[in-house]
């Protein structure tokens, strides 16, 4: 194994990595500070709505990931 560290080898792979990192950033500081307001959206606190947006965005990103992985026949 000559490579120093394992990194994505395709544009789709890099896209997925960036999406994963973006999801983690969306749920942590400093992004979480931007939604830290005592306001209600659709009757729920903004932090709660944001939390569930992240949760369902995780599902969406993994669905796209499945499509990429299975298209490439790459486990």
């Amino acid at each position: 194994m000559r490579r120093l560290i394992v990194l994505p080898t395709s544009r789709a792979g890099w896209g997925l990595l960036i999406a994963f990192v973006a999801l983690v950033l969306a749920g942590t500081w400093p992004v979480i500070g931007l939604v830290n307001r005592a306001t209600l959206v659709m009757g729920l606190p903004l932090m709660v709505v944001w939390s569930y947006l992240i949760i369902f965005a995780c599902v969406a990103v993994m669905l796209i990931g499945n499509h990429i992985v299975e298209r490439d026949d790459h486990e």
Binding site: L4, G27, A38, I55, F56, V61, E75
Partner: protein, 500 residues
């Protein structure tokens, strides 16, 4: 509460769980040997996507969802949602690593996390060390869940079932089906418990909202909180102790704590694709948290003088909900605690047998399989039961240190999935350094600067791991090649390594 219905419903749940757990072994192939590590340990790698989804979901949702989470909402507010976010991130982790771990297990015969570590670094000692230290956190977790189970039986029986009897009863039930059916019992019971928890949480949540506001919309609850107690709607929460840094580092440390039962769950799947499919939909299960948290928010204005925050859901249910729902809440909470404790007890027994006792006593695989099944009994009745009955005050501290340590094993996984140069001594040095810092920053100087102790540990651990790895011999090329053909098949091929 004088009705016998809550206790009857809770005991009915226990009986159903036992029947399901005992019948789970019927799913084995006719010639399957329950004494084998493959069968008892990882269910013959047979679980389909729906069972796996519910297995992982129910395993990750503990009694915390029914007691601790409403309690956090009651005492801190929206800070509790860090749990929902990190659970979703754990699904990302499962999506990426799960299929690779499954392939390691399938091709190299691993049945435990520590055996994969021992194989990657060609070091049974490192595997045994990982198994032992992971066992500390796992046992502490199982003890906490058992205490939760016994408390539910105590409340549902109106005090007729004392804590010691509740502890022994719950452990005896789990022991029977865990011994009989192993990982298959965990899969089937968790599937049942997962569905039950989802139904109970929403039934209790919606009924509580209706009793508090007259409607079924959560907005009535939150509009009142916004008007009267808006500090509950933002960080650092009503207690002022959930800073952005603690929120962030808690999420990061939690998502990188690869606990052994999760590893075993991945290896129980029928294929790598099954894990990916299950992980993809896993975050949807965490809608289970929302209604229970809303009950905690209702408690802020309806039960303002509560002595113990984590009893808010039970107290509210007993004062305002019909007895059938109280019973279902008891059953749901018991399901949550049992579904979380049994995988930990199972994985401790499996790993201690396979990764510690087998190499030390030079046992055959057959003898190790039998030992793993039997070992659950002393673990439950000589370790978990006395600790649960004693309810030591320092247990949460033990758990925090244990989980803090779990994240310190991260270098072992970096070397398995990302960095071929990682060495055995580098991993050991990183773990030891990270563990010492985590222990110090949990006990002596808790969470300096509002940063989680495990995160401080990682900040020391990772540079030590890299430096020592670079200074010490790497693992044999053929072993590294074997792992990275799975961990990075494309990168490996493109770089022109020798093909099989």
């Amino acid at each position: 509460m004088n009705s016998v219905w809550p206790l009857l419903i809770t005991l009915t749940y226990v009986a159903i769980a036992m029947i399901i757990g005992l019948r789970a072994r019927n799913g084995c192939a006719k010639n399957a040997d329950m004494n084998s590590l493959e069968e008892w340990g990882v269910a013959g790698r047979s679980m389909g996507p729906v069972t796996l989804y519910l297995l992982i979901a129910a395993g990750s949702v503990s009694a915390y969802t029914f007691m601790g989470a409403p309690g956090w909402a009651y005492s801190k507010g929206v800070a509790v949602f860090y749990v929902a976010i990190y659970l979703a991130y754990l699904a990302l982790i499962a999506w990426y690593f799960g299929p690779k771990v499954w392939q390691f297990g399938d091709q190299f015969g691993h049945v435990t996390q520590a055996s994969a570590i021992a194989d990657r670094y060609q070091s049974p000692a490192l595997g045994a060390l990982a198994a032992l230290v992971m066992a500390i956190g796992s046992v502490a977790y199982a003890v906490l869940q058992t205490i939760g189970s016994a408390y539910i039986l105590f409340v549902m029986s109106g005090g007729m079932i004392p804590i010691w009897l509740g502890v022994l009863s719950v452990l005896a039930c789990i022991a029977v089906y865990l011994y009989a059916s192993g990982q298959r019992a965990i899969g089937r019971t968790n599937a049942f418990q997962g569905v039950l928890m989802l139904i109970v949480a929403w039934a209790v949540g919606l009924w509580a909202v209706h009793s508090a506001t007259g409607g079924l919309s959560f907005s009535g609850v939150f509009e009142r909180i916004q008007t009267e107690h808006s500090e509950f709607l933002t960080l650092p929460g009503a207690g002022g102790d959930m800073s952005f840094s603690f929120w962030t580092t808690s999420i990061i440390v939690s998502m990188f704590s690869f606990m052994p039962p999760v590893w075993t769950q991945w290896m129980s799947a029928s294929s790598a694709r099954t894990i990916r499919r299950s992980a993809t939909w896993l975050p949807t299960y965490y809608v289970v948290i929302l209604p229970m948290v809303v009950v905690g928010f209702i408690g802020i204005f309806s039960l303002p003088e509560l002595a113990r925050a984590d009893t808010v859901a039970l107290e509210y249910a007993m004062q305002h909900l019909p007895v059938v729902l109280v019973g279902l809440l008891g059953a749901g909470t018991l399901a949550a605690s049992m579904s979380s404790s049994e995988p930990f007890i199972h994985s401790v027994s499996l790993s201690l047998s396979k990764d510690v006792l087998q190499p030390v006593l030079k046992l055959s695989d057959g003898a190790t399989g039998k030992l793993a099944r039997l070992l659950i009994l002393p673990i439950m009745f000589l370790v978990v039961a006395p600790l649960a009955i004693a309810e030591p005050g320092s247990l949460v501290m033990i758990l925090l240190v244990g989980l803090g340590f779990a994240s310190q094993v991260l270098p072992a996984f970096i070397g398995m999935f990302f960095w071929p140069r990682a060495s055995r001594l580098g991993v050991m040095a990183g773990i030891v350094a990270g563990f010492l810092v985590t222990v110090a920053f949990t006990t002596l100087w808790p969470h300096p600067l509002g940063i989680h102790a495990g995160f401080w540990g990682l900040m020391i651990n990772l540079p030590v791991f890299v430096a020592v790895s670079l200074m010490t011999p790497a693992t044999n090329d053929d072993v590294v090649e074997r792992f990275f053909r799975i961990a990075a098949p494309r990168g490996f091929t493109r770089l022109g390594g020798a093909k099989k």
